[in-house]
Amino acid sequence: MNHLKMTIKDGLTANNVAAYQKEVEQIFTEIDDFNELILDLAGNDNIDSTGVTFIISVFKRAKGMEKHFRVIGANADVQMLFKLMKLDQFFEMSD
């Protein structure tokens, strides 16, 4: 399986989401030879509700294009937040 990894370096918050959206747009419109999109949150320790909906929108976009989607490197707090919202039932989270 071909993986494509997108790394979140700055906080996944309202201020930064627009820039990440552009990156996602570029990935989905310009790159085709991947089966799985991996979102790497290891360098990120800050997320807000806009960040959560950003992740959901990326997941839905990937699903719509029949790509796998996985989140890696999320710290314990972020994982707990995703579980509160039952997002762990939609996509895999791993270290």
């Binding site: 800050n46 509160l84 939609f90």
Partner: protein, 388 residues
């Protein structure tokens, strides 16, 4: 519209010279003249002045005092002032620039000053002042709009109230005058329906979305046979049915906790809200109501669950949105455990005076944020429902 420049100098010749220099290089400019500081203040109080060329040595009121008075009045404090004086001491230059003058020229003006530098600096000062006035006016209009929107948002929210079986206490602090947090409480056929919700983001767009949430919630409550999970499912379905932006990006997604109090029971369903707290009077303890659930508005085919616990007459529930404990710091996003600690600290107040309890909780988190050098950066909504 043209600019008006006020030239203040006790020597008529100097005023003529500056007027000549500026009128040659600036278009669409008119001039006012003053021979001392008192005349400057008089003209400024009556006319729209866009730039002041100010001499320092003048009779009646000198330029230093005039400058201080100009800067101390709201009407004149932003008018740019360029000093044009024969005083060359650095202390004078430092003093006037510190008092708010934008530039300082010394007389007699050099040919370069007259032909190039003074006209350009005057032009720049005029443009800057015009831009700052435009920004100020825009900001005033936005503030006015926010004020109107806030009045409307407050009309939509329930007021602290007393129902047959419960008393309702609320506290709401929007981050931008209007916000995306929403709560409601209504009694129908002896059942008390309530919801607390948090629309993604904050500000005007979130405020608009939260007004739609209220309509959806009230529409669902009219189905008096509905349980909380059905209310959430119906609202979720309605979003996808009514709005073609549903589920895309960040337009209309919200977390919510819906409850029904009916004959000594609390039925509830959670859609991603931080865990509410319940005070159980018979045991004199505070517990979290822990249930996870999907966020509303992201998928059109999701199911929620209703759970039920006893709710006796002296029990009470405390609901809050994440704006209370989130300040944008990493560890804050799941810090609802802090809310329980604070609630336990003020447990007696919660049971005896819920209104004061809400004030204390907000103040406690204000102090927690302050100690971390952060602050509330999202809407905060809290409500207590106390059985009676």
């Amino acid at each position: 519209m043209g600019y008006c420049i006020l030239i203040a100098d006790d020597a008529n010749m100097n005023r003529m010279l500056v007027k000549e220099i500026l009128s040659q290089s600036l278009q669409n400019v008119t001039f006012e003249e003053a021979a001392n500081g008192l005349e400057v203040l008089e003209i400024v109080s009556k006319k729209q002045i866009d730039l002041i060329m100010l001499d320092l040595i003048m009779p009646k009121m000198d330029g230093y005092e005039t400058l201080k008075k100009l800067k101390s009045h709201e009407r004149s404090r932003d008018i740019p002032v360029i000093v044009n004086s024969s005083i060359r001491e650095i202390a004078s230059i430092e003093s006037t620039l510190k008092s708010g003058a934008v530039d300082y020229f010394t007389k007699p003006l050099s040919p370069d000053d007259m032909n190039i530098i003074l006209p350009l600096k005057a032009k720049n000062a005029l443009i800057m002042y015009e831009q700052s006035r435009t920004i100020f006016e825009l900001n005033r209009e936005i503030q006015e709009e926010l004020k109107n929107a806030n009045v409307f948002a407050n009309i939509m929210l329930p007021k602290s109230d007393s129902f047959e079986d419960i008393d309702l206490y609320i506290k709401y602090q929007p981050s931008l005058g209007i916000g995306g947090d929403f709560f409601d409480c209504v009694e129908r056929d002896g059942r008390v329906y309530f919801m607390i919700a948090d629309v993604t983001g904050h500000g005007i767009a979130a405020g608009m979305a939260s007004s739609m949430v209220k309509i959806l919630f009230r529409k669902c409550v009219d189905h008096t046979a509905y349980m909380p999970h059905e209310i959430l499912e119906d609202m979720n379905r309605a979003i996808f049915e009514y709005f073609d932006f549903a589920g895309r990006d960040h337009y209309f997604v919200f977390t919510a906790f819906v409850g029904i109090i009916d004959h000594g029971k609390l039925y509830y369903a959670n859609a991603g809200q931080p865990y509410p707290l319940i005070y159980i009077s018979s045991e004199d303890v505070i517990q979290t109501i822990e249930q996870n659930g999907f966020i509303v508005g992201i998928f059109d085919d999701i199911a929620f669950e209703t759970e039920v616990i006893p709710f006796e007459s002296d029990d009470s529930i405390f609901l809050y949105t994440d704006g209370l404990f989130c300040s944008g710091e990493a560890s804050d996003i799941t810090a609802w455990t802090e809310v329980k600690k604070v609630a336990e600290k003020f447990q007696t107040m919660w049971t005896q005076s819920p209104k004061d309890f809400l004030d204390e909780v907000l103040y406690a988190f204000h102090m927690i944020h302050k100690s971390k050098e952060t602050h509330f950066n999202d809407d905060v909504a809290m409500m207590v429902l106390k059985g009676k």
